[in-house]
Amino acid sequence: MKRLLQIAVSALALGSAPALAQDVTITNARLVLGDGGAPIEGGTVVVRGGSVVYAGPASGAPTGGASVDAGGAWVTPGLFATVTSLGLSDVSAVSESNDISARGTPFSAALDTATAINPASQHILVHRASGITRAATTTMPAGSIFAGQGAIIDLDGDANPVMQARAFQMINLGEGGAQRAGGSRVAAYALLSAALREAQALVGKSGIPQTTEITKDDDVLLTRFDAEALVPVVTGRQKLYVAVERAADIRAVLGLKAQYPRLDMVLVGANEGWLVADAIAAAGVPVIADGLTDLPETFEQLGATQSNAGRLARAGVKVALNASTMQDPRRLQQVAGNLVALTRMPGATGMDWGKAFAAISSVPADISGMGGKAGVLKPGALGDVVMWDGDPLEVGSVPTRVFIGGVEQNLENHQTGLRDRYRNLDESARPKAYDW
């Protein structure tokens, strides 16, 4: 019994021991900085105290300390996945394990994603092993047009996944928002307008908010707590992610800035963005675009094309790739690679390799308020470094080593356990259950 207790105690200690950031120097890398540029052959990256102190040609690197020879392997910043639900569910179709949306709650804008992130989620472990080191993760709208407040998280699996709580509010102003607002875009705009007016009235006030609840039948579309949660949106202290697809809807959303000049907006989806690319660029609003959506799945995206992201970027719009419409965020690299493929297709507009990689690293980080910190290798950035077994945008390439904040990560998870168990089907000695 005593021995058992000892084991339990030491296991506990192991689990809770804070992982220490290592000083890491990686040399002889095909080094990708994530800033949109081309890879640097024979590059060196140096991480000290959890942060990058150098990334570039070997010639300029500080000397001293042990180093890892990458042997020419690709080395990149960690990928930044944006608009994900990482950490919010175990199995999305198992409702009790799923915190992505809550149809039964009266709250909407007040929902705070940071309260539910599970750093031990298998999805976090699987995506970490896919080279994603940071993510913007959010609840999704259910009862109202407001999704709630998303968080910026890391994927290192320690006790503190949340880097920034309440980093952005998300709202749907397309067909989805219209349905949730009661059945029309007009209703969605009326609700938005009322909500922002209530929020505006609360600016600078403290104590219990004095606002009117907006309800319809049994549905609560806006509580006073939601109105209060929108105060940082109207004052521009919290970003507003607007999910919208149709060209006309995008124009209407851009027009909101006339009425609420302090809104710090980001468009999400924007499948018809290419039709209004100049207007988006002129407004200086970034876009988190679906990479490969090319079907008129709804009437709000009749003009969908895989060239959308490339055309937006060409017009001068800051474009990141949207993980929420992918089968899983670990497809970010594949989607970015497909945008490179488009550069070889007559009539299509894609992105060159460096820009495509930036669209899944530095650009989404920048849009998330993590510019210069995440998704990029440069002095002062977080020590998120990934070494790959091949071209990171090529299908089939996976990380061989992942560092988050200078801490080397374990790349094992439920899937690797199954993989190792079923390397063969031999049960001649014992059943598979003994093989672990």
């Binding site: 079907l295 008129p296 094309t305 899983d328 497909n338 945008l393 090529e394 299908v395 899937q415």
Partner: protein, 476 residues
């Protein structure tokens, strides 16, 4: 949406009334002749009524290969679909059929169209064994939701082709971006027995008959596990459990066997399909995620006397690769889908490689209007996962997963799925290695007719739905 419908009904009250009357008239006529197929009528002038039977060719294919010219591709790397690879190869097709395939010295006639394939790759037309294009078309509005007759747990009487909307823009995306030349369109998985599938050539057509793959056998869609028990359990009816799933299936098969053995039985559309399965004319495609359930299905198939052609979405197939090999059943799988529902929790990237290690048949499928545009990339992912464990699957074999193996499980492997002399000239010329994310189809031929050419904007099919809409004829 609901209130919209109400509004429409109110506005159109008069029209509704009129059409209801018309419908009534129609129904009356229908009653008089409706059962005529079952037995001869002796009424009046002794005219006998009889419906055609399947062997008469009901809903027959009207597809004919489009005009084509003798064509040769020279200098490309050719994957033949059966595991063979030819560097600097030559393929020559004429009259819609493949005439010769070989190395650089393969003779070709003078005065034919010759394309330089240097640096490019040639594969058979890609085949998706699991699609719902047309049955769940774009735009995916409720009015288009035609893939699941989810009103009874067994609907063997329905045929997917009766739901296919040939104007689904998804067909053209699958052609242009995925090099898809043939696909199987299946009913959904709400039901234990969802109905017949249809195999089509991926050619734009005004009617589904104009797409139907001539002489392709029908498939029969079945589904294990969570979906049927959830859909019907939620309605308080059987099945609500996995054991209920099996009980309903077995009872239904027994009914079909009794029907087959009863020479006096009245025609029954559902049982005709089930008997087609028992005879081996219709191939079973069984949606089934979990290894243990697949093993039970194999025993049920033995008990009732039919064969499973392929398990679809078989995310746990890797746990029973030996059993699947022994039973000669293909596994139609994704490369990386996992964890979205309980029965997909054990999905791993090595599924295909582990099956290949056992010598079992692997097919990579999409079940998705987007992934059907990239089956080549999905195959590449599954191949790479194997290589990381030392399972070295040749590129030509990975291509076989999305060509010949799919054709085999669909029963069309004697006609398409590989580049062999005499077979249909379903051919894709890729602008690079098809197992790379950076490659796309440059040209696609179906039965020797050029149906897509990336270098010619007018060679991109545009469905009726897309005419006059934003982005008509865009690269997509």
């Amino acid at each position: 949406m609901l209130s919209n419908k109400k509004l429409r009904v109110r506005l159109g009250a008069f029209a509704t009334l009129a059409s209801a009357l018309a419908l009534g008239a129609c129904a009356t006529t229908g009653t008089a002749g409706g059962t005529a197929g079952d037995a001869a009528s002796t009424e009046g002038d002794d005219k006998k009524f009889a419906a055609m039977v399947e062997s008469d060719g009901v809903f027959a294919s009207t597809y004919k290969p489009y005009p084509n010219i003798a064509t040769a591709l020279k200098g490309a790397t050719i994957y033949d679909g059966r595991g063979g690879m030819i560097e600097n190869g030559v393929i020559f097709f004429s009259g819609g059929k493949i005439v010769s395939v070989g190395g650089p010295d393969t003779p070709i006639p003078a005065d034919i169209a010759v394309f330089d394939g240097t640096g490019k790759f040639v594969t058979p037309g890609i085949i998706d064994i699991h699609s719902h294009l047309g049955d769940y078309p774009s735009p995916s509005v409720q009015a288009h939701s035609d893939g699941n007759e989810a009103t009874s747990p067994t609907t063997p009487e329905v045929w997917a082709e009766h739901s296919v909307w040939p104007q689904d823009p998804g067909f053209s995306r699958a052609l242009a971006n995925g090099g898809i030349t043939s696909l199987q369109i299946l009913p959904g998985s709400a039901n234990l027995m969802g109905g017949r599938s249809v195999t089509v050539k991926n050619v734009p057509a005004r009617t589904v008959q104009g797409m139907k793959f001539p002489a392709a056998p029908y498939g029969f869609k079945m589904a294990c596990g969570e979906n049927p028990k959830r859909v019907y359990g939620a309605r308080g009816r059987m099945p609500s459990t996995r054991m209920g799933n099996f009980a309903v299936n077995r009872e239904t098969w027994l009914g079909a066997i009794n029907y087959a053995n009863d020479p006096k039985a009245k025609r029954d559309l559902g049982k005709e399909t089930l008997v087609g399965v028992l005879k081996g004319d219709i191939l079973v495609h069984n949606h089934c995620y979990r290894a243990d359930e697949m093993a039970l299905v194999l025993d049920m198939a033995k008990e009732m006397g039919y064969k499973v052609s392929a398990f679809h979405h078989a995310v746990e197939a890797y746990k029973i690769g030996d059993l699947l090999k022994e039973n000669d059943v293909c596994s139609a799988i994704w490369a990386d889908w996992y964890g979205f529902k309980m029965e997909s929790y054990d999905g791993i990237m090595e599924n295909a490689a582990f099956l290949q290690r056992e010598g079992a048949c692997v097919v990579i499928h999409s079940d998705d209007k987007n992934d059907i545009q990239r089956l080549n990339q999905e195959a590449a992912k599954a191949q790479a996962a194997g290589l990381r464990l030392g399972i070295d699957i040749p590129d030509a074999t990975a291509i076989q997963w999305i060509t010949y193996n799919a054709a085999k499980a669909m029963g069309i492997e004697d006609m398409t799925g590989s580049l062999e002399v005499g077979k249909m000239a379903d051919v894709v010329l890729w602008n690079g290695d098809p197992l790379s994310v950076y490659s796309r189809p440059e040209k696609v031929w179906i039965d020797g007719a050029l149906m897509f050419d990336a270098t010619n904007p007018k060679m991109r099919p545009v469905s009726d739905f897309e005419l006059g809409q934003p982005g008509e004829g865009d690269v997509k």
